[in-house]
């Protein structure tokens, strides 16, 4: 009957400070952005307490001018270095910025991001050029995913952006993308 003890052992109440520290520890070990819900479930705390703890943690980092930041990305929380240390961090890691996407791939990605779910013919319509190789590149890089078929002639495959897209472009969710109509002002 020791399962009972393991599963439902009453835990001691935590102080707010302890919770902040715990949340920090979990965000640190997580290999990808961890959501508030997961934190709340694991720590058996209310969502609100977790949110307050994260907020506290963020201001702690800010106030002591830390080299790290707690950022909200792809719907979760992540511990990351500050942007202004990129040169030093990069030379320490001995990495170079990863290969850039080609102009064609970026354009295709932009169309998919704003028009998703979108089919290949619809992308062609906007870009005026075949996008097959760009789509392949984006699929290979897992920036886009197939989102089922469109119930129209030929049942073309529809594409949408992935979670990796959010992460690589520093977005919390798609609503963070500036509205496509905003770009109209820039058009002469």
């Amino acid at each position: 009957m020791d399962e009972e003890e393991i599963v439902s052992a009453p835990r001691e109440a935590r102080s707010p400070g302890q919770l902040v520290a715990l949340v920090e520890a979990l965000i640190f070990v997580a290999s990808e952005p961890v959501t508030t819900k997961v934190l709340a479930d694991v720590l058996e705390e209310e969502r609100e307490s977790i949110e307050a703890a994260i907020e506290q943690l963020q201001s702690d980092y800010l106030s002591r001018d830390s080299g790290l930041q707690v950022r909200e990305i792809a719907g979760g929380w992540q511990l990351a270095t500050r942007t202004d240390f990129h040169e030093e961090v990069r030379s320490f890691l001995k990495t170079r910025p990863s290969a850039k996407l080609s102009l064609a791939s970026l354009e295709t990605l932009a169309v998919i991001a704003y028009k998703q779910p979108v089919t290949v013919p619809e992308i062609l319509e906007i870009r005026g050029v075949q996008s097959a190789s760009a789509i392949k590149t984006l699929l290979d890089k897992r920036l886009i995913v197939a989102k089922g078929r469109k119930e129209t002639v030929g049942r073309p495959m529809q594409y949408g952006t992935s979670k990796d897209f959010l992460i690589q472009f520093g977005l919390n969710d798609l609503s963070e993308l500036p509205s496509i109509e905003d770009f109209e002002d820039l058009v002469q």
Binding site: D2, E3, E4, V7, S8, F28, V29, S31, Q69, R71, Q78, L79, A80, T81, R82, T83, D84, H86, V89, R90, L93, P97, S98, K100, L101, S102, L103, A104, L106, E107, L109, A110, V111, A113, Y114, I126, R127, G128, V129, Q130, Q168, F169, G170, L171, P178, I180, E181, F183, E184, L186, V187, Q188
Partner: protein, 256 residues
């Protein structure tokens, strides 16, 4: 967050191609690659300093064809889409040369043959700008690093247990029982249905049940076999998943 310091700004236009002027006969060009015919067209319109709402179609068509011919001469394979656009331009140009229908009423609004092309250009340009925005975002993002992967990331604690993992646990238990049976007591055998009921009740009550512990409660090989079948049945029929923390370790039945 104080994002996007100076050093990350990037001139997106710079990565597009440029035609460096010269005598019209031999244009010197710096070939980049235009992302498509619309991209090339926008570039030409801008280079000619023309208004996008009043495109000098004859001049732009000429420039466009010049570029295509140049690509051909340089042996650059021309995508069919560039040729489609060339045809479209020529079509618009010829339409514009046609005299207006003398019988058409004065009031009647005649659509400018260029309208559709302008609409497409404007729509395209929005996405081209959006692509530039994405580029800048990814550049900023590349200045941010998360911690390097640690050992447990690859050997993640929550791996799905396979049938073989289940069998291994099962065999372990059976082996242990062979060693320790001391006294046979006649017992009533428990049916599969009962066993499933017991296990289900336990899972839903506690959220998770250790398979090792559950099996250890069994008193005979037969009961263990029944318990094992019950586990398989429950995983198949109920919203219960199997988790294994370490390879060859205990398997946990967890309520989803």
């Amino acid at each position: 967050m104080n994002e996007q310091p100076e050093q990350f700004t990037f001139d997106f236009r710079e990565s597009t191609a440029q035609i460096v002027g010269g005598a019209s006969e031999d244009l010197k060009i710096k070939i980049g690659d235009f992302a498509g015919p619309l991209d090339l067209l926008l570039f030409l319109i801008r280079q000619e300093q023309a208004n996008i709402f009043d495109i000098p179609i004859a001049r732009i068509t000429e420039k466009y064809l010049e570029y295509i011919r140049l690509m051909k001469r340089l042996d650059i394979s021309i995508a069919a889409d560039f040729l489609v656009m060339a045809a479209t331009l020529i079509e618009i140009k010829s339409k514009m040369l046609l005299p207006r229908d003398p019988f058409a009423g004065e009031e009647e609004e005649i659509e400018d043959p260029r309208q559709e092309l302008v609409d497409r250009l404007l729509e395209y340009e929005k996405f081209k700008t959006a692509a530039g925005m994405l580029y800048e975002r990814s550049t900023v993002e590349q200045a941010i690093f998360t911690r390097g992967p640690i050992e447990s990331d690859d050997n993640n604690a929550e791996i799905d247990a396979s049938v073989f993992d289940l069998l291994t646990v099962f065999q372990k238990i059976v082996a242990r029982h062979v060693d320790e049976i001391k006294l046979e007591i006649e017992r009533e055998e428990i049916s599969l249905a009962d066993m499933m009921r017991t296990l289900k009740k336990r899972i839903f009550e506690f959220g998770e049940v250790s398979m090792l512990k559950f099996f250890e409660e069994m008193h005979s090989k037969r009961e263990i076999v029944t318990a094992f079948t019950a586990v398989l049945e429950i995983v198949r029929t109920e919203s219960v998943k199997l988790l294994q923390a370490t390879t060859f370790g205990d398997v946990i039945l967890k309520k989803i």
